[in-house]
Amino acid sequence: MKPIIQVKNLTKEFTFPVKKASVGWVKNFIKPQKRTVVAVNDVSFSVGAGERIAFIGPNGAGKSTTIKMLTGILHPTHGSIDIMGFDPVQNRKKLAYHIGTVFGQRSQLLPNLPLTDSLEFFGVMYDMPDRDIKERISELVTLFELEDFIDQPVRKLSLGQRMRAEVAASLMHRPRIILLDEPTVGLDVVAKKRLRELLLKINAEQGTTIFLTSHDVGDIELLCDRTIVIHHGMLIKDLPTKDLAHTFVFEKYIDLISQDAFVQFPDLPQGVRYLTKEKEKISIAVDINNISITQALTKILLLFDVQDVDVYDADLETVIRHIYEKA
């Protein structure tokens, strides 16, 4: 299958003037020193049609810069991008007909007019015929459950309502790819859940490819089947989301529930350490590079009188923290 997005050796450098403390104001003003920062460094990946990709990394990793290059906002310093046969630099306007974009921190809607006007505006901008615009608005209103606030001025919508509206607007022209930059930022748990469900729905029903950046574990875990990790501008991992834990965290966790109450906390075998020590429950981390989980469990059960045992992997939040801290 031909990839819908193909990125090869993508690099973006930013150059800016810096003040040199050792020289005077005049010299800094006339001939400032320049510093070059590599925001994205030799990144390559491809995305198939209908995939749901999480593009993650800590702040300043190069996520937004990459999305901006994919959409033609920024021009790469080196490397190439091919989205459905279009180069975003050369064919930015043509590409715009095939992609939708949502920037969580930035609105594309008309603030003082009802939401329906913003949707219509997008339809006209994408050269849709009047009848098609009306039909599409009606479809999106149903799909995104916008009925309750479709006639309200956008500035009076809650953040959750506005984000749904932003996504709906970006889908007016039925793009094959939607790129979302932190779409759930600032939303409450209910609004986040609702937005994720809608994105899953358009992916399942319309085959829309989803490419999103997020710091929200839920977005990654519940929405994306593949995760690309970027740090300091470099791609450090590209793998199925379900494999994140095995790949980055070499610890498993054991919870021991006491028969009566834990009163003593003896030294643990090498490679095993306490996380919490309570009368009712002890949590233990096992370094699986040092000791297997079965060996650890056998030794631990000799030390404690337990009613129940629970063995589990790290949650995704811990995994991501590990990635960011260790990368």
Binding site: F14, S64, K68, T71, G72, I73, L74, H75, R92, K93, K94, A96, Y97, T101, F103, Q105, R106, S107, Q108, L109, L110, P111, N112, L113, D117, F121, V124, M125, Y126, D127, P153, V154, R155
Partner: protein, 264 residues
């Protein structure tokens, strides 16, 4: 081209609707600006009455100069005020939005906003032309000429605005620089036309084309010279072409930003 034009008209319509939603604010701004301009021209009329004719310029000419400048400025900065906001768009990263559009970036930027107070300028300009007709009369050829000259003035405002505000792509904080560049052009547009001679007239026609929007149209209207009007159109076309070229080159320097914004 046709699609771009259709979209531009649609965007302007939506911007007007967006602005007029806040009715009281809209009306106050429009009327306030018209009154403000009225006070300004009253000063000029008083001055001209006191000193009399200067280099052939009479009260009617001052009135028509104000009419040309006010209407062209008003149309430019009510319908296409987005260009004036370009430095803000660049520094906030709002400019991203226009690059994501399938339409011409310049059309999207220009029609991204509507400025109600500039409608007050248009209103004032129309009053000036009414006063001109009262003072000097207007023949049909003069009326047609004034339409062409107004088109030229709007075109020149457009070209100079695009060049001045595109300078924002070259500076980290482009506000003060771009506004200064524009003011360098704008301030002399309202000066009494009789004071420009020789080298000064050349400079303010070809280098800083302030006279093209007010003083020269006022003189051409008075002398009813279609030839001079066509020459003026040529100058405006050259400036517009230069402005488009400069804008498209400047856009390549855009580096985006990540400020949080809403509805701008």
């Amino acid at each position: 081209m046709f699609k771009e034009m259709t979209f531009a008209l649609y965007a302007i319509k939506k911007n007007i609707q967006n602005s007029t939603e806040l009715r009281v604010s809209f009306l106050l701004t429009v009327v306030g600006m018209a009154i403000n301009n009225g006070a300004f021209i009253a000063t000029w009329i008083f001055f001209t009455q006191s000193v009399g004719e200067i280099n052939g310029w009479q009260i009617a000419d001052v009135v028509s100069l104000n009419g040309f400048v006010a209407i062209s400025y008003g149309i430019m900065f009510s319908l296409f005020v987005g260009i004036r906001r370009l430095p803000q768009y660049i520094s906030d990263g709002v400019f991203d939005r226009f690059l994501l559009s399938p339409k011409s970036v310049l059309v999207r930027v220009a029609t991204s906003s509507f400025h109600a107070s500039a409608v007050g300028d248009v209103l004032f300009g129309l009053i000036c032309f009414g006063a001109y007709i009262y003072l000097a009369g207007m023949t049909i050829p003069q009326f047609l000429l004034s339409i062409l000259l107004l088109g030229n003035a709007i075109g020149m405002f457009f070209a100079v605005s695009v060049i001045a505000y595109s300078a924002g792509f070259y500076f980290t904080d482009g506000f003060s620089v771009t506004y200064s560049i524009f003011d360098l052009f704008m301030t002399p547009t309202l000066f009494h036309g009789g004071i420009f001679h020789g080298a000064m007239r050349f400079v303010f026609t070809f280098i800083v084309p302030s006279l093209v929007v007010g003083a020269l149209p006022a003189e051409i209207l008075k002398s009813v010279s279609f030839f001079q009007a066509v020459q003026l159109t040529g100058i405006v076309c050259i400036w517009i072409c230069g402005a488009l070229l400069f804008f498209h080159r400047s856009v390549k320097r855009y580096e985006s930003a990540n400020f949080m914004t809403f509805g701008r």
